[in-house]
């Protein structure tokens, strides 16, 4: 079934929308969740929550790319669950490694709760991504959005592991400088 037809089912409040979403994007969303959580049952729970969130958000939303839309919901849910699990000392997998890498960008975390406007930060990140060449951008997004491992990225792009690592290192440094220029306290 095409995306537009599934979205229409959501708008009609037809529960077939969830079955079709699961059929078409279930594995996709599971992969995204599993990359964050590294746990099968937690990931399945995340995917189930994704359909509930999708049901609650359509309408009013009418996404053109349903896969990207659902994937974004899954990732958000998975990160929230990761935070919760980390607090319970259960967090594992690639997320912890990726977060450690991102700590290079922001330096030492402030003990004081900084009130970061996530909307502005998103805009800054998108502006930064637009400045990158395509290969670097793909590597960066695969690593920090999809949380793919360095090996997965290297294999998928026919690059060496060291090339991917080096690209990520340089891009993180560029992001750090960029965010400083954008006025973030780093």
């Amino acid at each position: 079934m095409e995306d537009v037809e599934i979205v229409e089912l959501y708008w009609q409040r037809n529960e077939e929308a969830i079955r079709e979403s699961d059929r078409k994007y279930g594995k996709y969303c599971f992969k995204i969740a599993h990359n964050v959580l590294f746990d099968r049952s937690d990931s399945e729970e995340c995917v189930s929550d994704t359909w509930i969130k999708a049901w609650g958000s359509m309408p009013p939303n009418r996404p053109e790319r349903l896969g990207a839309y659902l994937g974004r919901i899954t990732r958000n849910l998975a990160l929230n669950m990761y935070e919760k699990l980390t607090a319970e000392k259960r967090g594992a997998g690639e997320t912890a490694v990726a977060l450690d890498e991102l700590s290079e960008v922001i330096g030492r975390e402030s003990d004081v709760e900084a009130n970061v406007d996530l909307t502005l930060l998103k805009d800054s990140i998108n502006a930064f991504l637009r400045r990158l060449d395509k290969e670097t951008r793909i590597i960066f997004v695969r690593r920090y959005y999809y949380l793919a491992t360095v090996k997965e990225i290297a294999a998928g792009m026919h690059l060496s592991d060291s090339k991917v690592k080096m690209t990520l290192l340089r891009t993180r440094e560029k992001l750090r400088v960029w965010l400083q220029e954008e006025g973030y306290e780093i």
């Binding site: 594995k27 996709y28 992969k31 998103k122 951008r137 997004v141």
Partner: protein, 199 residues
Amino acid sequence: MKKMDLMKAMNGIDEQFLLEADPYEKAVRRSFSLRRNWKLVSAFAVLLLAVGIFYPFYKSAPFGGSGSDNAAPAPAPIAAYDTELAKDMSGFDLLPETLAGGKLSDSYMPDEHTAVAVYGDENGNEAFRVIRQDIPFTQTSGETKDDASERKEAESTASSEEIQTVYWEDNGFYYCLEIRVSGEEDSGELIGEAIRSIR
């Protein structure tokens, strides 16, 4: 700023960048669907049908189908140099149909360097043969002089005929004339006539 803020902010990455980088789009999301790929499936079915129809014709064609159990036996390599082709390639088409009283009964190329023309008598028995090579007979890749001697000796023994051999070179080619001589028959005249005719 917390690193988790940065990680969460990446949820707002533009959709175009997500699609551009999506590593799981093909592997996970796009499971093969007959309904979605009906054009591809149809094209493949047509291709299979076409192969099914034309393959038997291909197998039976003179240029096709080696290796099948049902196919006609593949000709021996020597056949590629046989008869008319041999004539064309070797220049034997310039030889007369009759030569020194013999009639051209066969011509072939046993290898890429050698052409053979066989002349028979009025009874159809081989009278003599002319062998022409584009390399000296000592270098022939087909029958060497030694091989030829052994063959002639064996044939002579079997038929109580003597095979006389004359070698000469002309116009960049190397010739060998083999004549079957029985008893006291004088082959000198025949040899002279043959050589003159070929030249």
